[in-house]
């Protein structure tokens, strides 16, 4: 083992260990942090961002922990040795490097972050509009005058939620869709996403809203476009039979 702490060999060994650990940590992190299925376009975009984050975390974690453990093992005091460590008070070049390099990483991630944000919040001309109403403790949905206790949305179309509440703050979250937005009394908030996998999901309130916050859930169904039209027409008919009798112009 090299004697001096500034011997190159120490750094070569540690760097090799960091490389190996980074790969292992990356695999491990993605195993213990399993994201739900990717049911929206946003999930694809956001998961890619999360993936880059996790890889960076794996590297930085390995970097710090390997150097720490290496020091603990190699630079521990040996029995009978009562000397002090080597006297060096710092190294300005190193300090500048580990200030500037993280700064560059921060700028890269910020740039990537801004692009992702623009991507997941973009609007499209033909959005399916659902009015969402949150209340203590439940949800209701409105499709151009048609009320529903469950949210049904067509697959592969951009959905725009126009959300309102009158009592307290709630928050709209379907983990499989990834995106989240609070509902605020006195203000309409908007949330957009594009579901890409048909199926049944659960909408949950993510902002503490009182006693039954935990059970403020609502069923969500993502269906094909034709099923959606059919469902909407049926609901409309159920709620207003007069319209159906009036003629074909009501769908």
């Amino acid at each position: 083992m090299p004697k001096s702490a500034t011997d190159k060999r120490h750094f070569i060994i540690a760097a090799a260990l960091v490389a190996v650990t980074t790969v292992l940590m990356d695999i491990l992190l993605k195993a213990v942090l399993p994201l739900p299925i990717q049911a929206s376009l946003e999930a694809l975009t956001i998961d890619a961002l999360i993936g880059w984050h996790l890889s960076l975390i794996a590297f930085l974690f390995s970097l710090i922990v390997v150097f720490m453990l290496y020091s603990i093992v190699v630079f521990r005091k040996r029995p009978g040795d009562n000397s002090d460590g080597e006297h060096f008070e710092g190294n300005t070049t190193l300090e500048i490097i580990w200030t500037v390099v993280p700064l560059i990483a921060v700028i890269i991630f910020a740039f990537y972050g801004i692009n992702t944000l623009a991507e997941v919040t973009r609007s499209e001309p033909n959005e399916v509009v659902v009015k969402v109403n949150g209340f203590q403790w439940g949800w209701s949905f409105e499709y151009d005058g048609v009320l529903s206790p469950e949210m049904v949305i067509p697959v592969d179309q951009r959905v725009r939620l126009e959300m309102n509440t009158r009592d307290v703050i709630h928050s709209f979250w379907i983990p499989e869709m990834r995106v989240k937005q609070d509902l605020v009394p006195g203000q309409e908030t908007i949330l957009r996403f594009t579901p890409i996998v048909t199926g049944e999901y659960t909408l949950a309130c993510a902002e503490l809203c009182g006693r039954s916050h935990w059970s403020m859930l609502a069923p969500v169904r993502v269906v094909s476009a034709s099923e959606f039209d059919q469902w909407l027409a049926q609901r409309r008919a159920e709620q207003n039979p007069a319209l159906v009798q009036a003629g074909p112009d009501t769908e």
Binding site: K77, E95, G113, L117, W173, P175, G186, T202, R211
Partner: protein, 615 residues
């Protein structure tokens, strides 16, 4: 000796009487004014709470000297234990010695840590299985909310303990700049704790963030929380004022700012935040209180207000507060590492200035708590940038710590283990930060258990682990006796792996879709196994802390005598006897070298006036 000679007992009686006076006063006014009904819960309890705090301060005697000044009675500072009473009495009464006040803060902090931890252990047990087992949703929400504020009080008290005990000793000063203000600031905390505990009986369900409108429509318990935290905040402001004055004005000759023990830098940075940000949370809480009490509409959209305003005011304090909580702990890490590495602190100036940088940038990032709140969308980008910037000075600290231990002669007694554990845990907290800072990934993780994992790791790594390191490290200085090393190591080896498991478990269930602050969860989420692990880890942590408490109490009696400087530290407080004498330094000290020149032959940090300390 009668119980009434304890200031604490007189204070509590004063608080009870003050509260009753408030209830009576409001009711009397309502009777005289012919208002119906005669009993109005809200104004009565609020008046009672405020008068109760004043009653406590009068009863305990924190205002006595100042009252005497107003009528011209001289009040010479009394030194030493009270005359004709046992020595321990001074710890339960107003005492102006910073070492007594430091212990008062520290012990109260540990007590609150255990209370806050107990709340967590109760509701964690409920969460270990799906379905509501033994808690109602209301009780769950109350315990969860109480856990938050009890733990935050514990942190502020713990920091007060470390700062009050250590800063004057590290500066070679006899005491703090304003001893009476120091005692007053401490004693504010006790009625604050009483108010918080009282809120438990009314129940409140808003979490520590108490967002309106929920906190406006909830029980009167909220009012107790608001005035409790207002009182706590006043203590923070006054305490930090005192610390800043002490650090800037009471350094010995030769101790330039860049020759202070590094912990003083951390406390300086923390105090600057406390002094300037705390007002905002006090204001925010008063505004909600007034909205409830007087029908003002600050946060009520029907009266022209907005609930989001509260979140801005709240987080303008409560984000910088995170740095209030962790900077002293990071200072402890920087302080203790060189001693057990037998090497200088790597890049002293960079570490010192990184604390200031974190403090300053910390003021510009509050909006990252509000990415999903519905505020103007363009605000998300600048808050994301500012938040990511915090990573830079934080990184400087990590790398400098590595530079400090690299090439040292490391030994691993309990304080060093806790410092290394702190670095590992703070690393988990720190690295899980940027993923929450980039807005898009936060849209998934916001208000999930991932956030719970993130901030518990940050606060345990930045406060709890270093606080425990500090307790073990300065224990021989405080008591004159050594703690039990085997028990200390047992504490560490239970708590640290358990904490890692807890963090990973919390983050894991959060990513899978587990929301924060819910009394029960859907079995379909598949998070039950994660919750069982987190609960087991929680119990292990609680158990390990009980080992520490036993160790601290037991070793004070039977521990082996420690001597003045068992760690071979260069810092001023280790150059005087243990336990520290009433007046700390027998003679003024002067600084003649660098604080951390371990390994530099014939160097010394301080010199004491007179032959005795001239070595």
């Amino acid at each position: 000796m009668s119980l009434m000679s304890l200031g604490l007992v007189r204070g509590l009686i004063g608080q009870a009487l003050g509260t009753l006076a408030g209830l009576f006063l409001v009711t009397l006014i309502r009777v005289l004014a012919g208002m119906d009904p005669i009993w109005a819960e809200e104004p009565a309890w609020v008046t009672g709470a405020v008068l109760g705090v004043i009653g406590f301060l009068i009863g305990v005697g924190a205002l006595t000297d100042w009252a005497k000044w107003t009528v011209g009675i001289p009040t010479p500072l009394h030194h030493g234990p009270p005359v004709g009473k046992p020595a321990w009495v001074r710890y339960f009464s107003v005492d102006y010695n910073h070492k007594v006040i430091g212990i008062q803060y520290g012990v109260t902090g540990l007590l609150m840590l255990m209370i806050g931890g107990a709340f967590a252990v109760i509701f964690r047990t409920e969460l270990s299985r799906t379905g509501l087992q033994f808690l109602s949703a209301d009780t769950y929400n109350t315990l969860l909310s109480m856990h938050g504020w009890a733990a935050l009080m514990a942190i502020l008290l713990g920091i007060g303990g470390m700062a009050n005990y250590l800063v004057p000793l590290m500066l070679g000063a006899e005491d703090m700049a304003f001893p009476r203000l120091n005692a007053f600031a401490y004693w504010l905390n006790v009625p604050s704790i009483v108010l918080l505990m009282t809120s438990l009986f009314f129940g409140w369900d808003g979490g520590w963030t108490v967002y309106p409108p929920l906190s406006v429509i909830g029980s009167v318990g909220y009012q107790f929380v608001f005035y409790s935290i207002f009182t706590l905040g006043l203590s923070s402001v006054l305490g930090s004022l005192n610390l800043i004055a002490t650090i800037l004005r009471m350094r010995p000759p030769g101790m330039t700012l860049f020759r202070m023990p590094i912990f003083c830098w951390a406390i300086l940075a923390t105090s600057m935040i406390q002094l300037t940000a705390t007002q905002l949370i006090g204001l925010a809480f008063l505004m909600v209180s007034f909205e409830r009490l007087l029908g003002m509409g600050f946060f009520d959209f029907e009266k022209g207000g907005t609930p989001i305003l509260f979140q801005h005011l709240f987080w303008f304090y409560s984000h910088p507060a995170v740095y209030i909580f962790v900077l002293p702990g990071l200072g402890i890490i920087s302080e203790i590492l060189p001693v057990f590495a037998r090497k200088p602190l790597f890049g002293y100036r960079w570490i010192a200035l990184s604390s200031l940088a974190i403090a300053l940038v910390g003021f510009l990032v509050w909006g990252h708590h509000m990415f999903t709140s519905g505020y103007a969308e363009y605000l998300r980008v600048p808050f994301m940038l500012a938040t990511l910037l915090v990573a830079v000075p934080t990184g400087v600290k990590f790398f400098s710590w590595l530079g400090t231990i690299w090439g040292g002669r490391l030994t691993f007694p309990t304080p060093m283990l806790f410092v290394l554990g702190a670095i590992s845990v703070f690393l988990i907290g720190g690295l899980s930060g940027p993923i929450l800072a980039t807005v898009a990934s936060d849209l998934h993780l916001h208000d999930s258990y991932f956030v719970v994992g993130h901030f518990h790791a940050t606060i345990f790594g930045g406060f709890t682990f270093p606080f425990f390191a500090a307790i073990y490290y300065w224990y021989p200085k405080i008591t004159g006796r050594m703690y039990n090393e085997a028990m200390g190591k047992l504490h560490f080896w239970i708590m640290t792996p358990a904490f890692w498991m807890m963090s990973i478990g919390q983050m894991s269930v959060g990513v899978m879709g587990m929301r924060r602050r819910i009394a029960d969860y859907d079995p379909a989420l598949g998070v039950e196994f994660g919750h069982i692990l987190v609960t087991i880890a929680g119990f292990a942590i609680a158990f390990s802390i009980l080992i520490m408490i036993y160790n601290l109490l037991h070793s004070a009696e039977v521990g082996k005598v420690a001597g003045a400087n068992p760690w071979r530290s260069r810092s001023p407080e280790w150059q005087i006897p243990s336990p520290v004498p009433e007046h700390s330094f027998a003679a003024p000290i002067a600084v003649v070298g660098e604080p951390y020149d371990y390994g530099l032959p014939n160097s010394t940090y301080i010199r004491m006036a007179g032959a005795a300390g001239d070595d």
